[in-house]
């Protein structure tokens, strides 16, 4: 079945979105160079492994790009369901790391189903918005939003239960972006705005409001959260309060970024990195290494590269041949954006520490593979934009 579903024709080749591919490769190579600094001795030098992951991921990207477009449509639902089942199965056979059950242990490989759920969700949502399209009535009201909301909510809740707040937030935000992109009626917009306000009020009530210790006010959500999640939210709100405790990450990461200055301390010269003040420096907090050692200008350069990648991706989306392709491309773009925004936002103290990776820069096979496969989807869409 595999080979049967792959097809590359000569006329597709000129349409390969080189902008996307090359930007991604540049970012990945920068990432490997950066990793060589982040995980320098006494840490295990992991950049070689990352290079291998990149190689595998490029192949995977090619495979995804070569898949028949119709196959993608056919596989959307099964892929989504399989991933859902995998998430459920995690509850029973998952490997616990850092307090969350997010991994399958397959011999030497550890697989994080949530990473692939991102792709599954995007495919499923795209399929839904494609199938559901009504030219006469292209605005979504409440009733028509129930099904896509369910499609998004089920995996989001499952991931949240792992608990993996970061990935859950990303799934939710990506779905939200797709919903908005699909055009909603204004009452829906009002509800969404109200929802955001509610979240703000909950956070204010549970984490900001002060009351005398002997008569604590009722919390709306806080008592339902796991302690480490709750502490991360409060740490996000007041990062300096506890240097060595929960907010240690946040505070140390800001110190790393801030001490980098305009031009940085130099490759392998970062003290926050070199002296292990930053835990997870080569995965979730990889950006702080870049910021500390390369400085503000290089950070802006890196952000510009991400912006280029996003814009190229949007370009692919805008030229997609149908709604399915367009929604996949928009979904991939949105996912990339939220992941970059959430990760860097957390590193520089704008958002709570949620433990998600920076696409293409963080060390990790699953992350690299899922990002490159998503980009493979873009290539696939772009190559087939004039086909019928």
């Amino acid at each position: 079945m595999d080979l049967m579903q792959m097809r590359v024709e000569r006329r597709m080749v000129p349409h390969v979105p080189w902008g996307v591919v090359l930007t991604a490769l540049v970012l990945a190579l920068i990432g490997i160079w950066n990793l060589a600094s982040a995980a320098r001795p006494p840490h295990t030098p992991v950049w070689k492994a990352q290079l291998a992951y990149l190689g595998i991921s490029v192949v995977a990207m090619g495979v995804v790009a070569a898949l028949k477009f119709q196959f993608l449509q056919r596989i959307a639902l099964p892929f989504y369901v399989v991933n859902l089942l995998a998430l459920v199965a995690l509850r029973f056979v998952g490997h616990t790391a850092k307090g969350a059950e997010s991994w399958f242990n397959l011999g030497p490989l550890r697989i994080q189903p949530a990473e692939f759920m991102k792709i599954g969700l995007i495919l499923m949502m795209a399929k839904f918005f494609h199938d559901d399209f009504r030219p006469s009535d292209d605005r979504y009201g409440f009733l028509r939003l129930v099904r896509p909301a369910l499609i998004a909510a089920v995996p989001t809740v499952l991931v949240l239960a792992q608990p993996d707040l970061g990935t859950a937030m990303m799934l939710g935000l990506t779905s939200l972006t797709l919903l908005l992109f699909a055009r909603v009626r204004w009452p829906v917009a009002v509800v969404l705005v109200t929802g955001l306000l509610t979240v703000s009020v909950v956070i204010w009530n549970d984490y900001v409001r002060k009351s005398p210790p002997d008569q604590p006010h009722a919390t709306l959500l806080r008592h339902r959260l796991k302690k480490h999640q709750s502490a991360r939210i409060s740490g996000w709100l007041d990062p300096e309060s506890d240097l060595r405790g929960t907010n240690y990450h946040s505070a140390q990461s800001k110190i790393a970024v801030g001490s980098g200055g305009l031009t940085g301390k130099g490759w392998q010269k970062g003290t926050q990195t070199g002296l292990s003040f930053l835990p997870e420096q080569h995965t979730d907090f990889i950006f702080s290494v870049w910021a500390e050692e390369q400085g503000f200008l290089a950070c802006v350069g890196l952000l510009a590269l991400y912006a280029m990648l996003l814009l190229y991706s949007l370009g692919v989306a805008s030229q997609a041949r149908d709604r399915f392709g367009a929604f996949i491309a928009v979904g991939v773009t949105a996912m990339l954006f939220w992941q970059v925004f959430e990760n860097i936002g957390m590193v520089i103290g704008l958002l709570p520490v949620t433990g998600i990776t920076l696409p293409l820069l963080s060390y990790g096979g699953s992350s690299m593979l899922s990002v490159m496969m998503s980009l493979g989807l873009l290539v696939n869409i772009a190559m087939r934009r004039h086909m019928f």
Partner: protein
């Protein structure tokens, strides 16, 4: 299911949304860039500082605090290593649940100590996680061994040798030397007076010289800097990140006191009382040569971690060991005051040395009679005899004639009623009443009356002096009217022993004292000491002429029957005074002895002065002989160098948490005091457990007073606290077993100085008449 045709065109309408989406994402990226700009450009310096403080571990090298030495270089206060247990919260994993309980188990902590340590570490973790917290100071040798053996398994726990203050003389000079303890939060917030900031857990001088000379004694701390990783491990390859790796500490300066420890030792040993003071001053300079305050406390105990309960126990001790009696307590001077009345009398012109009064045992003023201490009367007395025999009537007459103010003026000139300015220790000004004073204080009795002048003229009434004031006053009479500002510190030297500053004598006032008047007084004072039957005959020396005056200050109103001292309750007994100087021809040293509730000046104060005088002149001869090369120059100062086990044995055993003694009701307790100068005495209720009920017959009480045993100033090693013994020996606990009753003691003590002329009855020691307010003036 294949897509339906017509659904598959994305349509033009999507184009606008791409635009919006692209703009929104760019806005998001821009927001990140703006925050990056804030962190990396605007707040760069702040974060650079934070990152440096992250990886630079500064280890303070504590400067050695200066030593305190006596006049001959004998070390009184020095530093010794103390092994303290520190916990660095950031490196201490599972501190509260595993590490600290294990430490507690090894050191045998009780639950409260453990809880306190856990709380301290928790508090420190919040505030400054990388700063080590001392959870235990002054490990004993055995504890050190046990802990060192297990240190590897205790993350974040270090044992560090820290210089600790060692007061080698324990209770001797305790008030003068002072003590130290940990700096408070409030003090940390204030800018330091000498510009060198303190750090948490620093010790600062709290009393005496340690406090007044804090800036001189404390040095400047040094520091070592090392690049460390997040676990606090030093990283050899990255040390280039720091410019200056070590700043050496500057040790503090030493104090050289005017106190001669050899003299001090004799004074301590000779002083017989439970409570009281001995002051010896240099007549020609005002420098203090010896200063005893009994009872004392052990600064080794206070320097460390004294609990509030232990401090309260000290504060509640009825004998008030924390009060420095030479300056911080005033007493009625009794007859020692009479020299001033004489001076006032001569100055007024209405009396001359030849002026007489006739004593029939009392002096009548208005409807009341002021009694002389000798009921049968002294007969006709002149000024010299009056002072020699301490005849009250002559002074009553002066008071009656002059009124109070001329006497008060002389008193004030000699420094009474005002602080001496010694500075190092706390002072009370004393009281030199004037007519205005009585108008103010005794308003409801009609203000000043002549009777007050009569009381004050004999040193009773409201006159109150400190022993130091009295010593300076006698020194001024001895040196012809120079009232000195007393000083304790002779010079300051640096750590190598090079003098960097020496203190000159400071004159407070030159009092007008006519030589012929002075001669009469000195003659009289000489006869007090040197003529058989003189009240201070016990203070005489064979080869040096001592001039002095005894005094017995009444504490309670005189009853119908004159009781013997040992028949009275301790708190009701008279204070015994002796003030003297020598040699009378060219005075060098003035000594005041106050034996609180001691009894009679002649018997209970004068022998102490005698011993100190004798030692002083012996030493003088010895020192000049040594200077002349007749004696070998001692390499080390002689006189019991106070090195002993206690120098290294921490006083931890003392903190045994005994309940505080409650101040006994005035009527009841006989005081069993002994060993008040032994190190352990302070926090121990010396008289606890032997209290006799208030209803106890007088005879029972009379048997009890037991004098302090001879006290070794520098206790032998065996007397030093042993680390094995957590329970202090309660001194004096076996008082009942001491067979030595007052009578036996009197006999043994008195024999060497008993006058040969046994037939001459020993004067029953002037006891001043009633202090009662006259019922009516004039």
């Amino acid at each position: 299911m294949s897509p339906v045709l017509g659904h598959n065109s994305p349509g033009r309408d999507l184009k606008v949304r791409y635009l919006w989406l692209g703009l929104a994402m760019l806005a998001g990226i821009l927001a990140l860039a703006v925050q990056l700009y804030r962190l990396q450009v605007i707040r760069h310096d702040e974060y650079t500082a934070k990152s440096v403080s992250n990886f630079v571990k500064e280890t303070r090298i504590l400067a050695d605090r200066g030593m305190i030495k006596d006049a001959h270089g004998q070390i009184l206060v020095q530093n010794r290593p103390s092994f303290d247990v520190f916990v660095t919260p950031a490196f201490c994993e599972r501190c509260d649940t595993e590490v600290l309980p294990r430490v507690g188990q090894l050191l045998g902590w009780d639950a409260a100590t453990l809880t306190k340590a856990v709380d301290d570490v928790k508090a420190a973790r919040r505030k400054a996680p990388f700063r080590p917290v001392a959870v235990r100071i002054d490990l004993r040798r055995d504890e050190l061994d046990i802990l060192s053996a297990h240190l590897r398994g205790l993350s974040g726990v270090d044992v560090v040798a820290v210089p600790h203050r060692a007061y080698r003389t324990s209770t001797v000079l305790a008030h003068v030397l002072g003590y130290m303890n940990e700096i408070s939060e409030r003090e940390l917030e204030r800018p330091p007076p000498d510009g060198r900031p303190y750090q948490p857990a620093d010790y600062v001088g709290r009393a005496g010289l340690e406090r007044s000379f804090e800036a001189t004694l404390r040095g400047e701390d040094g520091v070592t800097r090392a690049v460390v990783d997040a676990r606090g491990q030093s990283i050899a390859g990255l040390q280039w990140l720091i410019d200056e790796h070590e700043v050496l500490p500057k040790p503090g300066n030493n104090l050289v006191l005017s106190i001669d420890m050899r003299l001090q030792e004799v004074a301590e040993q000779a002083f017989p009382g439970t409570a009281g003071a001995v002051v010896a001053v240099d007549v020609k300079t005002g420098f203090i040569l010896a200063m005893v305050s009994r009872p004392g406390f052990d600064p080794n105990v206070l320097t460390g971690r004294v609990t509030a309960a232990q401090m309260a126990a000290l504060a509640k001790d009825p004998l008030q060991p924390m009060i420095f009696r030479p300056t911080a307590q005033h007493y009625s001077p009794g007859s020692t005051f009479k020299v001033l009345t004489s001076i006032a009398a001569f100055r007024s012109g209405q009396f001359s040395p030849q002026s007489t009064a006739t004593c029939h045992g009392g002096y009548r003023l208005g409807r009341r009679t002021w009694r002389c201490h000798l009921d049968r009367g002294h007969g006709v007395v002149d000024a010299r005899t009056a002072l020699q025999k301490s005849c009250d009537v002559w002074y009553y007459k002066v008071g009656d004639t002059l009124g109070l103010d001329p006497i008060a003026k002389v008193g004030e000139e000699f420094g009474l009623g005002q602080p001496t300015g010694i500075g190092v220790v706390g002072e009370v000004p004393g009281i030199m009443p004037t007519e205005a004073y009585h108008d103010r204080v005794h308003k409801r009795y009609g203000g000043y009356m002549k009777g007050f002048a009569l009381n004050s003229s004999t040193g009773q009434g409201d006159v109150n002096v400190t022993p130091l004031q009295l010593a300076l006053m006698y020194a001024a009479i001895a040196n012809g009217g120079k009232v000195w500002v007393p000083q304790l510190v002779r010079s300051i030297e640096d750590a190598e022993g090079k003098a960097i500053r020496s203190f000159e004598p400071k004159l407070a006032r030159q009092v007008e004292l006519k030589p012929e008047h002075r001669k009469v007084l000195v003659d009289a004072l000489v006869s007090v000491v040197n003529e058989p039957g003189g009240t201070a005959y016990r203070a005489r020396l064979e080869d040096v002429t001592v001039a002095g005056k005894t005094g017995t200050a009444q504490v309670a109103r005189l009853g119908a029957v004159r009781l013997k001292t040992h028949q009275m309750d301790y708190w009701l007994r008279d204070h015994a005074w002796f003030a003297a100087f020598a040699p009378a021809e060219d005075p060098e040293i003035a000594i005041v002895v106050l034996n609180e509730h001691g009894g009679h000046g002649g018997a209970d104060a004068a022998p102490t002065a005698q011993a100190v005088f004798r030692k002083y002149f012996d030493l003088k001869r010895e020192d000049s002989a040594r200077a002349a090369g007749q004696l070998p120059v001692a390499a080390a100062p002689t006189g019991g160098v106070p090195v002993g086990a206690q120098s290294f044995a921490p006083p931890s055993h003392i903190l045994s948490g005994q309940p505080a003694p409650v101040r006994a009701p005035r009527a009841s307790p006989q005081l069993v005091t002994s060993g008040m100068t032994l190190p352990a005495a302070v926090l121990v209720p010396a008289h606890g457990g032997t209290t006799v009920p208030a209803s106890a017959p007088v005879e029972t009480a009379a048997r009890v007073p037991v004098r302090a045993p001879k006290v070794a100033v520098l206790p032998p090693a065996s007397a030093a606290p042993t680390t094995q013994d957590p329970q202090p020996v309660v001194p004096g606990a076996g008082s009942g077993e001491q067979p030595e009753g007052p009578t036996a003691r009197e006999a043994t003590q008195d024999s060497p100085v008993r006058p040969r002329d046994v037939s001459a009855p020993e004067t029953p020691e002037e006891t001043e008449p009633t202090l009662a307010l006259p019922e009516e003036g004039q």
